[in-house]
Symmetry: C2
Amino acid sequence: MAKITKVSPLAPKGGFPKLPQIDGVRFSAAAAGIKYAGRTDVMLAQIDAGSAIAGAFTRSSTRSAPVLDCQSKLGSVEDDSKGFAFLVNSGNSNAFTGGVGVAAVEAITNATAKTLNLPASHIYTASTGVIGEPLPYEKITHALDGLHGALKADGIEDAARAIMTTDTFAKGASATCEIGGVEVAVAGIAKGSGMIAPDMATMLVYIFTDAKISQLGLQEMVSRLNENTFNSITVDSDTSTSDSLLVAATGTSGANVEYNETFERTLGVVMKDLAHQVVRDGEGATKFVEIRVGGATDNVDARKVAMSIANSPLVKTAIAGEDPNWGRVVMAVGKSGANADRDRLSIWFGDVLVAEDGWVSPTYVEADAAAHMKNQDLRIRVDLGLGAGHSTVWTCDLTHGYIEINADYRS
Amino acid sequence: MAKITKVSPLAPKGGFPKLPQIDGVRFSAAAAGIKYAGRTDVMLAQIDAGSAIAGAFTRSSTRSAPVLDCQSKLGSVEDDSKGFAFLVNSGNSNAFTGGVGVAAVEAITNATAKTLNLPASHIYTASTGVIGEPLPYEKITHALDGLHGALKADGIEDAARAIMTTDTFAKGASATCEIGGVEVAVAGIAKGSGMIAPDMATMLVYIFTDAKISQLGLQEMVSRLNENTFNSITVDSDTSTSDSLLVAATGTSGANVEYNETFERTLGVVMKDLAHQVVRDGEGATKFVEIRVGGATDNVDARKVAMSIANSPLVKTAIAGEDPNWGRVVMAVGKSGANADRDRLSIWFGDVLVAEDGWVSPTYVEADAAAHMKNQDLRIRVDLGLGAGHSTVWTCDLTHGYIEINADYRS
């Protein structure tokens, strides 16, 4: 396995951010010894009664037992006089583990429910790490009393660190807004894009807010925002069997945010920030790239084109080489399956118009585009010249670092 | 630009094969000086009257001017008392060159038609090399008299060499069969998968046979065979704007192969051989991988799964690392969008059953699979356990060599 010793060059400066405490949520972390030595590997978040929980999960048809369990629970809660808990371990993904995997999820949720005096249907678990190996769930259940006793309001950074696999930095983000004169806070943590053999770069995201909202209202907001945040990032086009996002709204601020656009924007800021951090920790990444597509027949086509560019190995290696290779962008548009007319296509690198009307722009000077490519954060913009459909996605470059992390080892 | 100095380790042993001469076809090559120094860069193939021409082309929506021109001509020929010609240059792809690109194709086809005394509608051209730069077509038209004078029956290897870009070896293949006591021969050449900035790994294929068949009959055969040969290979999931396949049947053997399955199999052998050679010259490739998917709901789903595995950067890097990482295969099945049931999935590396019934196989010993991964030619087999759909595709691994060729330069 490749040893990851350096923090990604794209990591936010200044380390883990100071996150606001969300009233009604407490965190703890423990070293259960699932796989890693000398570090925490289980986090517990307990969420008070009266909260709403929403989420989004991988669409993989081979998704893991914990994902299936969470999906079956979400939105079906009947007893809101009880609280909730998130229990997450790193070191083992409990994916592709057949019947024993299902039994492990049951054992963990039942034990957590008992420890916290909650219904098992209020316990959401996730696991990330090696796949195909039985999860040593007793190590987790043995740690529960300690986790319970250690719960504290300012434990969110410890939680963020406990769920890392080979992430090169812990990921946190927050935002606040005022609703009817009351300040509402949103704070979230994520892990993702590090890789450990034979793990699959699982992305896990947990977001908390003291806003007051119904489960259905929160779920609609999360599903909508998810499309333009976590579902709009790609490191290498591969999809984990375990990707999970959970959002808990405790209501403790008293501010009602049902259908509230200001709150939705605020939640969106945190989701986008965490999504970008996952890309910034992309394996081997040295460039963060925003790809904006406009002028498509519709938004679905725009997204096809944006993802085709973002996932193209030839585009991603050109970016790694700081090469303003617009020919590869034309190629990626062409293979996307979206409506496109070669002779109406315009392409910008940063603010530099590179190609228009089916050929290199008469104003194009390669040195200008080459200068943009030297930046750490890049923008590629494509206008298809056909309609009003648009889409923005984020990705990173494809470098020797990616090959080192994923090929230069034997499991 | 990365300098490519070594022949691919996957190249067929023994160099360019001895190909049978196809009666009714003559070849020549010339050094027109389009881009490269000290090598040939234009090939001409003249095909006698009474022949049938079929083909297949890239589905890219940004396809090049020569591709659009070929597509408009194929199957619409009314005068079979005339022959045909293929005129192909390397060094410049005439792609994304707007109106001047269209004019260049016209100039070349008109000049070739005049030189050979053929209708312009019987001239098929192709171009491969840098994109976005005007094709210096006068260099090609000036070379036409020389090309015409040099035509010879045994010139196919020269033709194969003239269309190479950064291919590391020239690609040829042949097969014969007996139809009604008459020997029928098929001989073909291809280029592809080498890369030159900012080229796009264009694949060009020209196949010749002395079989007798109608244009429609040949086209149906070629379209059918293409799905399981050239459309079943992938190096990096990127699609050229110029991919072109043309097949010419001269009829000079006198053997009628209309609806003839023996001939179709023989043509398929040559097409598959050339397709495999393109993968074997894949950028940075050190492993040739056959991926067989069975037990799918239908063939479309089987193909989705096979291509998802073949294009997964995580699967391809694992292969490069000789790592029997079946977890990544499960992941690729899951993200494919095809019907799949995690608990019915079986996976083999070579003949080693790795996973079954949703978990690692009880008979699995990792050393066995690891031994298979050390081979240069690998087989991965997946059974979805759902139906009778099946598909086979071929790919190569993803290595530092790919990054070197595509990222380690500035255009």
